[in-house]
Subunit: 780 residues, 2 copies
Amino acid sequence: MGVDLPASTSLSPGIQAMIPFLYAAWSDRHLSVPEVESLRQQAGALPFLTEEDKPVLREWSDPARPPSRERYQQWLSSGRLAAEALPEDRTASLAELGVWLGLAAEEDPDARRDFWAAQLPALQELEANLGGVQEDTYRSLFPLYDQRQKLAEAITESRIDPNDLQRILEGERAGIIARTKKILLRPSFDRPTLRIKEDYREQVLRWCRELAQEGIGALSYPPEYGGEDSMSEYAGAFEAIAYHDLSLVIKFGVQFGLWGGAVYNLGSKRHHDRWLRETGTLELPGCFAMTETGHGSNVRGLETTAVYDHEHRELIVHSPSIAAGKEYIGNAIHARLAAVFCQLIVDGESHGVHAVVVPIRDAEGHVLPGIRVADNGYKMGLNGVDNGRIWFDQVRVPVDNLLDKYGGITEDGSYHSPIRSPGKRFFTMLGTLVGGRVFVPRAGLSAAKSALAIAVRYGLRRRQFPSESMRSETIILDYPNQQRRLLPLVAKAYALQFGLDHLLDRFVARTPDDMREIEAMAAGLKSYATWFTTAAIQECREATGGKGYLAENRITDLKADTDIFTTFEGDNTVLMQLLAKSLLTEFKKSFQEDGNIAVLKFIGRRVTTMVTEQNPYVVRQTDREHLESPGFYQTAFHFRARRLVTTLAQRLRAYIKEGKSAYEAGLLCQTHMIAAAEAYVEQLVVDAALDRLEGLETSDVSETSDVSSLLKKTIQLYAVHTIEGHAAWYLESGYISGQKSKAIRKLVDKLCAELRPEAGVLVDGFGIPDKLLGAPIAVV
Amino acid sequence: MGVDLPASTSLSPGIQAMIPFLYAAWSDRHLSVPEVESLRQQAGALPFLTEEDKPVLREWSDPARPPSRERYQQWLSSGRLAAEALPEDRTASLAELGVWLGLAAEEDPDARRDFWAAQLPALQELEANLGGVQEDTYRSLFPLYDQRQKLAEAITESRIDPNDLQRILEGERAGIIARTKKILLRPSFDRPTLRIKEDYREQVLRWCRELAQEGIGALSYPPEYGGEDSMSEYAGAFEAIAYHDLSLVIKFGVQFGLWGGAVYNLGSKRHHDRWLRETGTLELPGCFAMTETGHGSNVRGLETTAVYDHEHRELIVHSPSIAAGKEYIGNAIHARLAAVFCQLIVDGESHGVHAVVVPIRDAEGHVLPGIRVADNGYKMGLNGVDNGRIWFDQVRVPVDNLLDKYGGITEDGSYHSPIRSPGKRFFTMLGTLVGGRVFVPRAGLSAAKSALAIAVRYGLRRRQFPSESMRSETIILDYPNQQRRLLPLVAKAYALQFGLDHLLDRFVARTPDDMREIEAMAAGLKSYATWFTTAAIQECREATGGKGYLAENRITDLKADTDIFTTFEGDNTVLMQLLAKSLLTEFKKSFQEDGNIAVLKFIGRRVTTMVTEQNPYVVRQTDREHLESPGFYQTAFHFRARRLVTTLAQRLRAYIKEGKSAYEAGLLCQTHMIAAAEAYVEQLVVDAALDRLEGLETSDVSETSDVSSLLKKTIQLYAVHTIEGHAAWYLESGYISGQKSKAIRKLVDKLCAELRPEAGVLVDGFGIPDKLLGAPIAVV
């Protein structure tokens, strides 16, 4: 706060600390003589009271000698002044005030800070033992008491226990999330202001090491390399770390997920034995050198080469141009090894992209000969991550460093691969790296949840403009506009959690057969979720006004750090097109495989839709029961997803018939493709959320019925708000009438208003500890 | 770049510098003997060639003795290596390469940097005199030659001269904009990386002083105080400064606009005499202390008091609580005086909010007794602005410090004001400060233009994924999705310029009678334009991918710095409601004033609309001629604006009839109010843009016809894209059919494609010098 207390009076620190208690004792006149006696006795045992203090205290708490009006006023006024200066994250309690007053009266407060902090528990006990201190006493001492109280009420006004929500959101990852949070709450994880990238990077490296030492880094590796063989645990740790610092989670992901993942997924056992354990402990920092300046998302067109030299059994790794340099590589400044993606050339023949492990620094951290590294400099955010560019100048490494699970070089110097088709080989290799797209959106969702928790709590606390009664200003979140801004985002965070969990479950249980589908799903969900993160945090920034613009309230860092999520691990627009292509392939395949039956099925479904959904009655149906039924929004989501793929296929075919090439036709339908992919993802999210709800309802835990009806309403809001967002499309398609579109808009308003009293508990359900949230405006 | 050149060979710097010329001379074999002779002669005169160099040069350029294949290859390879390392902002020329090679061969390059930079002109002349060096020569030397060339072509492929566009955009402010830019291009305005707020603030203060010394700060003040009495010139300077650094423009606005404006607009002549001249030169830094922590946008509820003490003829300025502290005050750390907004209390009676000038620091910069200032700390952006919180503890100032144009205290100690009604007085005082809302959106628009220029140029330069021919990857801006992202924003920037110019003209020519209207207009345009700024820069960030996330490419700073524009000078949501209320008042007034005639007019207009616009033919009309006609979109915009106000009035009336209070009714219609306000602003923007176009078409400058048809298409895109954004509403209202809605969407696609070849010239038309743009990815 930077606000100093007024100069202390001549009273000793010990007596100053007792002032709030003396004031309360005399203010609440109903205190009985024995109660006051007990106060005197307990106070006498406090370590900060000197021998000189004790008679003063005895005198001032003598039931027979009430204080003069003047002294009583003095107590009130010192208490009030201190209360005003009390940091916003402290509760409005006599104990906190006592500590604050005692500290302020010290000659050298800095030296005594720890001492006074340690007095808090004893004073809290004293306060509890005072018995019912009246509300008015607190109100007279604490200028913001009512506001704080109101927030506490606003949060607790719901009948729901946030822990129930948290349990549902965290599912089987609750254990690892709690374990990770516990580490993150250690004092060593306090977040200082780090403006200079070098300092920030060192701090993040230290944090990362501490996590590694606790075994968090290796969670997904097999036990023989120090891990627990659990992708699901790794995912839980990842999303929890994202509540703390986004640079840390990215650095963590680069080291253990990307670099470690490349060794684990693309290498053979000898590679695992050589590098995996030390990777998990962060004794061996590594990086993942894929992207090149000249290419970005087009991995297949990488220019870096690895030429095989049979004579020396070596690979010569080389960047043929500046633009072929590896770009934006995380861990580039700390890494000792790099998994370098390059075109493997054997006997003059290129076998496509492979990964080669290249040492880039020695054990002392000096860059090795032939390696050039340049710092990427400051970025919008994530300045705790050491991104850099890397070039290779004819760097020779033993052929053994080729990560050869999907393609290696035999003793006799010839290339071999278990996968014959270079295209299939390439996609299989990339497929093993899909994990990034499964985890990144989870970190993004955590960041969005943090911002939403901050903004919603601020909305419950902050008042603006006198309301009618003129007694107090209106709570911001009581403005419908503010509800409209935040509540659909909170609802979407819930829905997305269920969608991402579904993806994670599929990913964890994956088989080669469903990899294509999971990859497509991951591409879509990564994009959808990270776009949500960007939009949600931006909205939170605006909804918290000037306060949200201050770095101390964290929304700014959340925004800056996650803004690149829409770009890295594959640019969202590119990923959405990948998904659309996969949807088209599936669509075509269903026709090819089933032949005429498929056509009949297709026509049949179309006719059914016309009859059951697009009939004049349903198109105009606006009763709340219909609009709130899962059946309505599920059919609406499915209709959109199906229709957009069908029309996409038709448009593409028409263009090709006109003589356009497949490439040109794709280009012309680009926007359409992205819409089709989005519709698929939304259908997936709503289905996953409804499945989860159904699971809750049929579970035999009866006390969850309130929770599940809250969640039901939350998912409803997500669904109806999403349909509202596509209202133009539904109207154009004749799926809803103008009246129905208006009714949907009104329903969104209504659901927002109905969820307003639950807003506090909904964000508390995210389970983010106050300390990790970190924003003064968000603390009760 | 951080990329070092390879170690130089044994050749001297002078000879190294000649290598590109030697290579070119021998590569372009058609050079005649006299041409080579002339090269030798000119080169002989170059100051960097030593006596030892000259015979070498003579030997190597002897037409009779061609170089060996080996030497020729050596030249090419040194040239290429240097060309790769050439910073991206240098042109692909032999001269640049020569300078670069010469410098790299120096033993101590740092010491010789300036020397070699000074050689450029002579080498450029040499290059020009070489005559037609073939394209292939450049292509073989410069790896990115084709890309650079392509961008240059992409920008120049249009027939339009960007200067013509710039002239139209800048209008009568072209002179001041050029004058300001000239100052900003001085080396003293180079932008270093400033991560620590204290350093950044000092830099901004120095910049601000330099502008003040040039008379830019005082532009809006009367000549007797060093000014030019021109709000319009001030506006031009303001938007030009925003091309340089947003912290600077805000600091500039606080000092000269807010603080100076308060003295000028709320004070009397004696205040002007005392403070205005030194304010304009920045010898007297001041701040504008209005907002309080506890209140934000609700100025009327400020808690700071100024109690009049007749005995001493003094005002006692006091902050009664922590929350009553002045919050977020720009210039708080540098200011010596503060215009403090407080409740004026005379004889125990409050006369509402007034401004009092309170000294807060002495001439040495020490904080005065009774004043407490706390730094606001780091913010998302604008860290070069010293925002802080200020509290006053019973601070006494002479009553003469009351800015008393609208309310003062007489000799006998009684309050007097030329405006009797406290409400009207309050709004009159606030009204004089509307300037901020006229200027801030202009700065926001400048920032958006910078981001758009960077993103569009990057889109023209960057390639991704091989296109069909596989010869080169596709230019990003050739992807329809990328066009969709950026071109409507470019179009909107043009439309907004015309809208904001209209507002500025009205503001400059304002009379007391139209102040209310101008205030409402300013509230709306400020919100609409700053929301645009936020959205546009965000889109540019995403559209430039990883490159856009690097601080060096400036989009990140533009984003972080302007993000608060939607909040300060009045929160946008609050301002939009103000505008809506004013629209409702006008709407009601028209009925009250004209009585039955108004009702008849209203019904008449409604019927006309039904017949001319909402008839089944027009609702379904999808021919391009209709959709592109200004008539169509103008009527559509007006219809929406009118309809939303009418239905808003009806809804409010219905709620009140139901027994709800005006306050409750307003709350229930909040979203509707904002929509109505937005529709009004959009109508205003499209009208202003069409007016401007009409002016161009009827002007007798015949060579502008190409320009005006380009502008026409640009405004069309803005209009049609805006209608597309409201498609759901138009469909619901039965104003367009589903078919027409689809046709509108297709038209947006088409206009984007048609404007794609003009994208380069459109952003060049913004007239932002490359140096101010500053982003390496945006430089040809």
